[in-house]
């Protein structure tokens, strides 16, 4: 080794430790840091899959032993809303993959645009989910212990949907105020950050409004169908047809039948009216167990979406500061992998929960 080569290699060693403001000192090279982080995030995804597998196990057991419950319960799930949500998540996966690509190529503005698109999709997903949840809760479709199916009589926007929307509204208004405060203070990067957050929270209202419009359309269509049926045939339910059903069916029977349960006052009447609305097909009260599983699975998934939104916001902030380099884009890649996993889990949840015949 000549003296110049030696000098060069010493210089390189120093360069390693000075260059790259985000290369931690315990890593020799940027590549080593990247690979370590990548192994870490893959192992995290492994624990995530095992975490969710508990719920998939509950689902599989209950479905294999009580397929009839799933068939009854599936009538309460709207596969169009579920399908649209699937496509929203798939699109967010695409924009996330594009964000990773742009970070690799150090295209700062494109990373910001793709990340904001991903975050908006996440919020749209939650908005549609909020409409689905609130619609079910209006009809008394809760977890098994609180399951109390009845016809929804209220009009206008569901109180549950309003409850869901309040935090998003507060965050939206807060982001807008923060954005313009920072602009008046001359902090341009924080203005961009908060205005992007405001756009994200706006996405929730986009999803919720879209879902609500769809739901209203569907309710109107169903009402028309019921009216058309009433014209053609006599009312399908009378006292006898409901009294003939074996008593394992819910308490509506007992309300007009022989033995009165102590609590079958107003609730029993409400269920009786729901029977008329739902037609002769009597439902097993245990479909509440399906919905316990449904709420656990989709709820845990929704929490992961919220977690992803927080992680994406952090990425966005760093993207605005222009932190990414060709040899340092690991965080975008890692959050991207997590985000794709959230998509991956939904890919399985959708057919398992919404597409049951």
């Amino acid at each position: 080794m000549t003296a110049t080569e030696l000098a060069e290699s010493v210089h390189d060693e120093q360069a390693h430790h000075t260059h790259g403001e985000f290369i931690a000192h315990h890593f020799d090279t940027a590549e080593q840091q990247y690979d370590s982080g990548k192994l870490g995030i893959w192992l995290f995804l492994v624990t995530e899959i095992l975490f969710f597998s508990g719920l998939f196990c509950a689902y599989t057991l209950y479905r294999s032993h009580h397929p009839e419950i799933f068939v009854q319960a599936s009538t309460f799930l709207d596969k169009r809303l579920g399908g649209i949500n699937t496509i929203v998540l798939l699109f967010s996966s695409l924009t996330m993959a594009l964000a990773v690509r742009s970070a690799q190529l150090v295209e700062r503005k494109k990373v910001i645009v793709y990340l904001v698109l991903t975050m908006v999709c996440a919020a749209v997903f939650l908005g549609i989910k909020a409409v689905e949840y609130s619609h079910k809760w209006d009809e008394g479709i809760f977890v098994r212990a609180y399951f109390n199916l009845h016809e929804h009589v209220g009009h206008g926007i569901s109180k549950y949907l309003i409850l869901f929307s309040i935090p998003f509204l507060v965050l939206l208004v807060g982001s807008v105020i923060a954005a313009f405060t920072y602009r008046s203070l001359g902090k341009q990067h924080l203005f961009v950050f908060f205005i992007s957050l405001a756009i994200m929270f706006g996405g929730y209202f986009l999803g919720a409004a879209g879902g609500k419009v769809y739901m209203n359309w569907k309710t109107a269509r169903d009402a028309k169908l019921v009216a058309a049926n009433d014209d053609h045939s006599a009312r399908p339910v009378d006292d006898h047809s409901s009294a003939d059903i074996p008593s394992e069916k819910h308490e509506a029977t007992t309300a007009n039948g022989e033995h009165k349960l102590p609590d079958s006052g107003i609730a029993g009447v409400a269920k009786e009216t729901s029977d008329v609305a739902l037609g002769p097909a009597h439902l097993d009260q245990d479909i509440g167990i399906f919905f316990s599983i449904y709420y656990c699975m989709t709820g845990l998934h929704a929490f992961h979406v919220i977690g992803g939104m927080i992680a994406l916001s952090w990425l966005l902030y760093r993207s605005i500061l222009g932190h990414w380099r060709a040899d340092y884009y690991g965080p975008v890649d890692y959050v991207g992998l997590y985000w794709h996993l959230v998509d991956l889990i939904w890919i399985f949840l959708f057919p398992l929960l919404y597409l049951i015949n």
Partner: protein, 127 residues
């Protein structure tokens, strides 16, 4: 060494996926989603669950291979990730085999809302 430590000029550490490929994968994924919704109405009888699951599996594979860069990733990462599915399958499979063995005795119990068997402490009912 020298080429590695230049400022930020050198090639990215990972594989850069072409936009064309990513968009193609997205289009295929949307097509499969529509297919699985449409196939839900086909008279597939007992196989409908399996058709839906196979489509979901194809979609998941596409997402993992191309969106998650698994196609270009290190073998060990792929191995670690796939091993989680092996363990999840073992978990669900063994639990299923186990519960099949005592399912008959569960069925002998009354359904909720019709307490033929009176449990100690339960509120009594007039017949």
């Amino acid at each position: 060494m020298a080429h590695q430590s230049s400022e930020h000029g050198h090639a990215a550490a990972g594989h850069v996926t072409p936009i064309r490929l990513l968009v193609t994968i997205f289009v295929i994924l949307v097509a499969l989603t529509i297919l699985t919704v449409v196939a839900n109405d086909w008279p597939l009888g007992h196989y409908d669950l399996w058709v839906a699951l196979v489509i979901a599996l194809v979609k998941a594979t596409l997402v993992a291979l191309f969106f998650m860069h698994m196609y270009w990733d290190k073998g060990f990462n792929v191995f670690a990730f796939l091993s989680s599915f092996v363990f999840a399958t073992l978990f669900i499979g063994f639990t299923l085999m186990d519960t099949r063995h005592y399912q008959d005795s569960i069925r002998e119990f009354p359904k909720s809302g019709r307490p033929d068997v009176v449990f100690p402490g339960a509120p009594t009912q007039q017949k």
